[in-house]
Amino acid sequence: MLTVEHLQKSYSTGGKSLEVLRDVSFTVEEGEFVTVVGPSGAGKTTLLRCMAGLLPRSGGSVMLTKTGKVIDAPPPEIACVFQDYSRSLMPWYRVGRNVGLPLRNTISDKAERQRAVDDALRSVGLEGFADSYPWQLSGGMQQRVAIARAIAYRPEFLIMDEPFASVDAQTRADLEDLILRVRQIAGVTVVLVTHDIDEAVYLADRVVVVSGRPTVVMDVIDIDLPRPRSQVTTKGLPRFGELRTQVATLISRAGAEAATHA
């Protein structure tokens, strides 16, 4: 379990302090799929980077409950997938090497490492592409490489920052279903940030709705939609519409409050 408690983050720029995260608390249970959704300009990326140990906090804590470890630096239990796939892969290495490099520190046996790379590529439907270069692949395929790299690392938590924001709608739907399948196979807990309400509801067990800056948690909504989810059936359910409206209402309220503050 991952616990985010009273997380705060301020940047100081030129003597002035900019408060991005005011007070963010929520928990992520073992095996859960949690999405974080909020208006654009909310400190969503900042929140994820703090959770992944990539950014120092100003206050509060992020804790791996099982070990009681407070996250101050990137822990081996967490792997990240970033929004900009074209910048997160190493263009000078082939796909297989991109996926395999982080494993050098976690799997010492070469054959076993190769097997982990093959398994991960197969689970994202990229078997046979290990010898391609990232720039030979489409955007959606490149993001699948990034997902394979994260999965191969065998993390307990997969943290994804708007991973599907830079691809077209059809690819996006495919990738959404892919990540649902992959997390089943890998048995990984997922925290995914998005600004897309449909995506947040469609993927999640719980949706954490956050406000605009300075960011607080507005509400955490349980998504009681049946699994497995399907783009057609799930999104056609009346309950999907209700949940979607509920989240949208919260977000528009967040937007309105932010406007009166400004």
């Binding site: 992944a52 990137p74 990240c80 997160s88 263009p91 982080p102 520190n105 270069y133 692949l137």
Partner: protein, 268 residues
């Protein structure tokens, strides 16, 4: 369509346009050589001998014993100097790129060293290292080191912040980050620096051979001028031009192979 067929289609298209480009770029040189040949044919001026005479001299001089006695020594010096410059420039640049304060402290010295005209350093090199190969190689290495050094410093710093996050989140060690990421990310800039360095190395090679030398293409060319062997002087110039072209051509081929990921990625 599979990736391999996409790639081969692209390379086929590139190949045919490459052939056309090569043909196009040959037109002007051919025209100039032909024009030179006929215009100079009846020339009686001692300064502008017929191209026929120059080429005959070229064949007699440069394609025989002078290959070993002058061309090879020239190239060996240049390549040795350039190789030393590359090793020192990349190693020192990679180190300094991670030490911002050191660079700030060293910057005036680096800028001063870079600004020194190579030719002014020849007497200094002769005084310090005498006559022979050593002063020439040292000077070639010194002068051509700067563009590589400065570009490497800049290059290893310019790793994409997203990629930095990737490295940190997968807990890559400093050495791993350096070998797998920084060096590669810097390579386009390093190679651009090497390209500048290569032409500097060529200039310094010729210049050092013209002052205090007993062999080399530059030495023979200057001696020809002083001995009023004008066709030999012209043939030396042609040889230098051709050598420059060949060396640069080889470099471009190597560059293309090394930076395929970079140039291909940019086109998308």
């Amino acid at each position: 369509m599979s990736t391999t067929s996409i790639v081969s289609a692209v390379s086929r298209r590139r190949w045919s346009s490459g052939v056309r480009g090569a043909a196009l770029s040959l037109i002007l040189p051919v025209v100039i050589v032909v024009a030179w040949w006929f215009v100079s044919e009846g020339s009686t001026s001692p300064f502008f001998p017929p191209l026929r005479v120059i080429l005959a001299t070229f064949a007699d001089t440069w394609l025989s014993s002078r290959v070993l006695s002058d061309i090879v020594p020239s190239l060996v010096r240049m390549i040795a100097g350039f190789a030393i410059a590359t090793v020192v420039g990349v190693a020192l640049g990679a180190l300094l790129g991670r030490l911002r304060l050191a660079v700030a402290a060293l910057n005036p010295i680096l800028q001063f060293g870079r600004s020194l005209p190579a030719t002014a350093l020849i007497p200094v090199a002769v005084v310090l290292f005498g006559i022979g190969d050593t002063p020439k190689i040292v000077l070639i290495a010194f002068v051509s080191c700067f563009p590589i050094l400065l570009n490497t410093i800049d290059g290893v710093r310019n790793v994409d912040p997203v990629l930095e996050d990737v490295c940190r989140s997968f807990r890559l060690s400093r050495t791993q980050r350096f070998r797998w990421v920084q060096l590669h990310a810097a390579s386009p800039q390093v190679i651009a620096g090497m390209r500048v360095a290569l032409s500097l190395a060529f200039v310094v090679m010729v210049a050092t051979e013209m002052l205090g030398s007993t062999n080399g293409v530059g030495y023979v060319t200057l001696l020809a001028q002083q001995g009023f062997q004008i066709p030999l002087m012209w043939s030396g110039l042609i040889l230098l031009g051709l050598l420059g072209l060949i060396v640069n051509g080889i470099f471009v081929l190597v560059e293309r192979g090394l930076l395929r990921w970079y140039t291909q990625g940019q086109e998308d």
